[in-house]
Each structure stands twice: as C-alpha cells, then as structure tokens.
C-alpha cells in the first residue's frame, strides 16, 4: 500500500507566530496522501492555507511561518526533519513547484536557456553541452514554438503563456516525481489556460507524475484532478475521489462554493461560507469538529454524527 503513495501529509500544522504570542494557524492538522501518477486538487479561497501547504512541502515557508506539528512523507522520508543539505537533493530534482506570475519568477537579465541550464547543471551535474541539449528538449516538450531561437530569448520577450511554459519547463527539466502547481494558470487568458492544462495533462500521463494541484477554481479542478480536497480556514472540510465529490458533496462549505460557481442566488442563500450558519453536525460550540467521517470509500467529511 505505502509503495503506491508518492507523498503524504500527516497532521500537518503551520503556524505564523505573532509578536505577542497570538499567532495565526494557517494550516491545521491537514492530512492527505497522493498516489503515484495521480492528481489531488486542493481548492480553497484566499487565506485558506493553500500556499502555506505548498511552501511547507518545499520547506520554503515565508518568515515567521513554521511547521509546528505533523510530518510530510515523500517516498518514505520525512521532509520536515530533513537537514538543509538533504533537502537540497530533493527540491528541484525530485519535487518541484510551479508558481503563478511566471514573469516575476524569471530573472529578467538572463536568457531562458541560461536559467534553465543552470538548474540542470546544479542538480544533475551536466556539462554545458549536455545542459543545452536538455534545455532544448524540455522547451520542445512544453511546446514552445521555435524553441531553438527562444533558447536565447529574455523573459520580457515572452508572452504570459510562453513564460508560464518556461516555468513548467523549469519544473520538469530534472525529471521530478512530484510536482506542486500553485495556482499556476490563474494569470492566464482562458484559451491559453486550456492549452497549458492540456499540456500538463499530457506530461503528467507521459512521465507518470504525481501532482498537488492548488487552485481557487473548482471548475478547473473538476476537469483536471483525480481527487479533490476542500480547504477552509486551514482545515480540510471535505476530501473525496472526484466523481464521488461531485455526485455527493456534503459539507455546507462545498455546497456554498458550488453555488457561488453556478451563480445560483437561491442556493447561495441556503448555503453560506459562514460557519455560524452551518448546522450543528458541522459546527458545534464555536468550532469545526476535529473528526472526519467517511461517508463513502475515500470520501471524508469534517462533521460529527
């Protein structure tokens, strides 16, 4: 069983301590596992803790954020307790992160080829010639037209869609096993988004990647993921295989989000994102329950009976 799991989070908690002790718990007791070759979608609104999870997995939490409890197991190794030296072997080569705003991520003074080449030279210890070959190959794989001349292009010469392809290329160039996509297509136009998503789908299949797909768009997640988890104020409130979720969403937050996407005024009045208005099995004594109940195989809902 454990052999088929690529990455799992066990009771992960991320805390941003405040000056006077009253900190913010951005991620609270989050557990999930992602099977090899599968895509887990993590959907939530701003402030739900999506990016904190992504950054916790890569151990790149913004100060003063820290992992205060739980473990992150990647191929039977706990990332949380790794030394920086050990960690460096994994990041970039085994686990990579695709970020939004591709242009702010690329160095404006270096060519695309140089930036991608540096990655493989560092992680895979390739020489210049090998690095160039690897870069051209990956640029071709992400379908950048005329990749031979784009090799020496600077980031400002690329459109948003092309720059995002370069970021995807950069995350794939070392043949990672696990990719985190943090709202990777949110800044793109819809037609470009669709092309990028298709490209990612093909690459995931071809390279048998495992993916944590973080997004605000439940519509996008519906068409791209195998599993779906809904994150609300740092906690997972519902997690299920994609078909099970859409056939039978249970948590009021899930229903509220779906109603918002469907622009259904009627149902938005019934289901609110305000926990005070949830019924008592989902919110009791001013808290969401600590326990999750399995309503169907693999379909967990944060509630009490």
């Amino acid at each position: 069983m454990t052999d088929s799991i690529s990455l799992s989070l066990n009771n992960l908690t991320v805390d941003y301590p405040g000056y006077k002790g009253s900190g913010t718990i951005a991620v609270k007791d989050v557990s999930f596992s992602i099977e090899k070759g599968k895509v887990l979608g993590l959907v939530g609104e701003s402030g739900a803790g999506k990016t904190s999870i992504a950054r916790a997995i890569t151990r790149q939490l913004v100060e003063p954020g820290e992992i205060t409890a739980g473990e992150i197991i990647f191929e039977n190794k706990n990332i949380v307790s790794m030394s920086q030296k050990e960690l460096r072997k994994y990041l970039g080569s085994q686990i990579s992160l695709i970020v939004p705003n591709p242009k702010s991520e690329l160095d404006p003074l270096l060519t695309i080829g140089r930036q991608l080449g540096d990655v493989v030279k560092t992680h895979l210890k390739l020489n210049n010639k090998e690095a160039r070959e690897a870069v051209l190959k990956v640029l071709e794989a992400v379908q950048i037209p005329d990749h031979n001349s784009r090799y020496s292009a600077y980031p400002h010469e690329l459109s948003g869609g092309m720059a995002q392809r370069v970021i995807i290329a950069m995350s794939l160039i070392c043949n990672p096993k696990f990719v985190i996509s943090d709202d990777a297509t949110s800044g793109l136009d819809v037609t470009v988004q669709r092309e990028i998503m298709k490209l990612m789908q093909n690459i995931i299949k071809e390279k048998d990647l495992s993916v944590l797909f973080i997004t605000r768009d439940i519509g996008l997640a519906a068409h791209f993921c195998d599993h779906l988890g809904l994150l609300f104020r740092g906690q997972i409130v519902e997690i299920a295989p994609i078909n099970s979720f859409f056939k039978n969403p249970i948590h009021p937050y899930s229903l509220a989000l779906l109603s918002a996407f469907s622009h259904s005024v009627k149902w938005r009045k019934v289901y609110s994102t305000d926990p005070q208005k949830w019924s008592k099995e989902f919110f009791i004594n001013g808290n969401v329950p600590d326990s999750m109940i399995e309503v169907e195989k693999g379909h967990l809902v944060r509630m009490i009976r």
Partner: protein, 348 residues
Amino acid sequence: MKILEVNDVVKIFKTKGGNVRALNGVSLDIDEGKTVGVVGESGSGKTTLGRLIVGLINPDTGSISFEQRSIGSKVNIRHPDIRGKIQLVFQEPSESLDPRIKVGDSICEPLRGLGIEKSSWNSKLKIVSEKVSLAEEQLSMYPSQLSAGQQQRAGIARALITDPKLIVLDEPTSALDPTARAEILSMLQDVQKEFGVSYIYISHDLSTVRYLTDETAVMYLGEIVEFGETSKIFSRPSHPYSTGLLSSILLPDPEIVMDESLELSGEIPSPINLPKGCFLESRCPISTKECSSHHPDLITSDDRLVRCFEVEKMKDIVQPSSKFEDFDKSFDDFMTKRYSSSVQAGNN
C-alpha cells in the same frame, strides 16, 4: 432609449516600437437599464474601449455620444452636464481607494466635484452603503481593514453615489474569491433593478458574462467579431473565436465536457503588426485562402453580427447546445434533492 452610442472608434497608441492599434473601428450601442458584456483576451482592447467611453482618453477617429451629446475633447467626463452620470469601477479594489482616507469619505468624494452641499452627503452615503451592504462601522474604517470584496463594494458605492446613468465595470470581480464574486454580481443586479442604471461589463470571465449581461460583444485585436444576445451567443456561437472562448469554460461538473471540435491554437498576435487578412487567421481551425488576404466586415447573420467569411460553414459545424441551461437545471435539481434530504435527516 439609447443611452450610449459608440460609432466606429479608432484608437492608436504611439510607442517606440511602433503604433499599437488598440481599437480598429468599434461600434456599440447600449439601451437604458441594460447590460452589455465586452469579452475577449488580454490585448483585445476591452479596457481601452471602457476608458474611451468614460472619456478618460479620446478616440483618434469616430465618435461616442452619451444621451445624444458627443463625448470628446470638448465635452468629456468633466463637463458639468456629464459629470457623475458615467462612472467607472476598477479591477483592483484596493488600488481605487485612498489608503489614508476612511472608506465613507472615499465614497463621498465624487460629490465634492459635483458641488453638492455637504449637508446632504450623509443621507446619500446611507442609501448607497445600504445598497452595497456595507455596515456603518465599516464606513469609518480604512480600506486596509476591509476584505477585497468589501473594498470592491465601497468602489461600487462610490460609483453609485452620483446617481449615474451608466457604469463601466472593468473586470470588477477578477481579483475576488468565488463567493465574493457571486455576491458582488447579484448585488450589481439588484442595483440595476432598483436604479435602472446601464452597465458595460468588461470581463474575460465568461461564466459571469452569461450571468450578468443582456447582450455580448466578443472582441479580438481591437474589433468586435461577434455581437448579439448573450443567451444566443452562448447556445450557438457563430464566430470561431467565440467558439474557442466558450469551449474554454470549465463548469464545476466533471461530466460536462465542452465541445472542442473547433480549437484555437497559439496566442493573440501583436497589435503593432496586425495581419492583413482576418486577425484570427493564424489561430483559426477553419481558415481559408481568402482569410489571409482579405479582412472580413462585421455583417448581419440571422439574429446577430458576425465578422467571418465562413459564417455559413460555422452554422453547419456548431450545433445549438443547451449545455449551460442543462447545467443550471441539473445543479438546481441536485441541490433541491440534497436540501430536502438534509432537512428530513435533521428532523429525525
């Protein structure tokens, strides 16, 4: 009655790298109390059109008239007859409010320019803040103390306070979370019902356009490629670009897959070197020789305007579809069932 008429406007921005042809002859009318959606990708000229309409920039050629008065360099948004009647709501709510002025004062600011007596400001503020559901204590907060959704409500309240006839909404919800977005949109609908204001809704988010607008103009590289009733365009688009845009919509149901028989490839060309023929030719799946040598005109085809040589062929390829209505209905059915069962469970 027509409240706004845009007539064949052209706008060219001169830059170092060449002339950016932002708008290449756009015409658009809007009736009182109606909403026209303007959709297209970045670089299609949506925002430039919005800025021309409110008079922030002037067209190179062509004309815009508001309530039969021409807007241009002499009569613009600052002219006493027009001032306050056309308003603009911006994309980034936080950037449109002064961080050092209390929200309530920001909302009242346009009244100063209109020369309205201060004694009546409070009653006006009360009406609009109720309309956008901002609580009284929020009016005495600073913008940074509000959420993005609340900031956008303040932005809309500020537009409403001058009693405008037309509001240009430039991507008002793209910076917001889905639930905040849905709330703002239904609030805009309520406001329109009550005040009879017209909207021009500029967006690249097609699912919100379907929800909010009566008519839709699909723009590509500074020109309208399709114009018609929103429901008709969504059920059967006539231009390959509209088809491409619509097939990119992802409804929150994994079983509803969009028709992808007409797929656009590549990206929007540069508005500096516009193609000689049809602007979409390089990305269009059904383009012919004629498309690369001649530029199509916007012609009437059945119930709408379309700019495509192959409009007859499109009718064969794209069959009417009720996907969106079906989705609405199945979602409603599902929720009705789910709700009645949860109520029953609650009783037990």
